[in-house]
Symmetry: C2
Subunit: 286 residues, 2 copies
């Protein structure tokens, strides 16, 4: 590739760019241009060597580009896609890094009428607590899963090119249906976040001084309640059905445990705890 | 004090003993004897300098003792109290480190007929992931809260002596009603553990490969699901009413969030997340 455009040069977009520069020779010569609204951020990204150049003009940023990575919050996708639509042709590969995939595909269909064959949605399952291009790290995706959710009409070559890019960063690329992705992530990521946010909400609403007596376990458990509120609002708005479904499913598991405690079923309680501990320990040892 | 007996020389009992040896001169000369069923463990405790001597004979272990610390699992308390009852007089101070306090007091009343005036229940809010005397640490309680839940008939001097011991270890001693303790801890410790155990149970029961796609947030959130199953079974058995109550209260908060997501109430969702994040960040910065 000769030219790649990163729209939204933050932690994820910047790490993608940095990683490509440091990776396989085929990417070392690529010209990476950043596009965004905040020139100071783009200047910083250039000073950090994350991007080669930048432009505040979308036409200029996309001129002669072969691949566009959209790395802005999911709720901005409609505006971004409408912004780039006039300036890309059918040969340009478009990909993203949104946390929800069904909504990205729906938005693309809405803007383009049909899902562009070379739009390959992706979700890298990686992150950091820090945000912004200052935290960009070329090895952020090393040995991390990146899920691609191409639609049925997706261009095979485009899928291969996007896979190559992520693999060049050391990522383990997997391809799955967007519904499957949104279901799996709702269970392993969205649900735990909802539980952590709700626990804090419950403690706050109780109005008690209970937090004065919270210890290390509470700290770890609630860490994800300190996640970015806007990003998580957007995830809720973009994957509501799956999140609500898994909250309901979880409530049943919690009801079951509550009944065991109410009935003093010591053996069953211990077995449930042993199974939970074993499953987690096995997962960590994988 | 001249002689203290530690019943159950594990992480907590051992850390209490080690801390006293390293603390104020008034405790340095105290003879700390360990009692337990496992001689190898007591030999190790002695070799580590955690206890001065040990005995497998309760009469010998308690002879001439001024304070007895019961640091065994809560479910063993009935047996332990029946074991020591014939060998202690009204002058001996008894204290414990159980995670639930109402049940400890109920057991003591059951065994002694009435709550002994010099039995001062305590709960140090401190711990480690490692178990056993090998993990004993004299500074484990430094700057940690220790809650005493003396009953109305408690001997004031006994409360002062027990407070002195914990303060000598650097702990911040607080006195409260056992019901208040069990209610607060059910919210800040027992509830989060139930949520973590239930989340693992839900994921296991789903039979999906979802854990393959779990990331760092899930790891932190579920860490407490790797806690000791027997200890947590005992906590459930000994504080069922408060745990069930707080599970029900939490479920209302979770239902509220679920409804907001179902109705796409973006502003309310974001505000809930902001409040949760703020409360947690404030708590951490205290």
């Amino acid at each position: 590739m000769n030219k790649i455009c990163i729209i939204g040069v933050g932690l994820i977009g910047g790490s993608f760019a940095l990683g490509l520069k440091k990776s396989l020779h085929k990417f070392q010569q690529v010209n990476i241009v950043g596009f965004g609204r905040n020139e100071a951020n783009l200047q910083q990204a250039q000073a950090l060597g994350v991007i080669d150049t930048y432009s505040l003009d979308i036409a200029q940023a996309l001129s002669g580009v072969e691949l566009v990575l959209i790395a802005t919050p999911v709720n901005s996708f409609k505006n971004i896609l409408e912004l780039i639509k006039p300036h890309i042709n059918d040969n340009v590969i478009v990909c993203d890094v949104g946390s929800t995939k069904g909504s990205v595909i729906a938005t693309a269909k809405e803007v383009f009428g049909t899902m562009p064959a070379k739009f390959i949605p992706a979700h890298p399952i990686a992150g950091k607590e820090q945000n912004g291009v200052i935290a960009a790290d070329g090895s952020l995706f090393s040995n991390k899963r990146v899920i691609l959710t191409p639609t049925d009409n997706a261009d095979t070559q485009a899928i291969e090119r996007v896979s190559e890019c992520w693999q060049a960063l050391g990522a383990r690329v997997e391809i799955m249906n967007d519904k499957t992705h949104d279901d799996l992530l709702a269970m392993t990521s969205h649900l735990p976040h909802m539980l952590a946010f709700s626990l804090m909400d419950y403690v706050i609403e109780s109005g008690s001084n209970a937090l004065d007596y919270a210890a290390g376990g509470f700290k770890d458990f609630s860490r994800i309640a300190s996640s970015n509120a806007t990003m998580w609002r957007d995830i809720c708005i973009n994957n509501p059905d799956e999140i609500v479904k898994h909250i309901a499913g979880f409530q049943q598991s919690l009801d079951k445990l509550s009944s065991l405690i109410e009935e003093g079923k010591a053996k069953e309680i211990e077995q449930l705890f042993i199974n939970a501990k074993t499953a987690r320990d096995d997962w960590l040892n994988e």
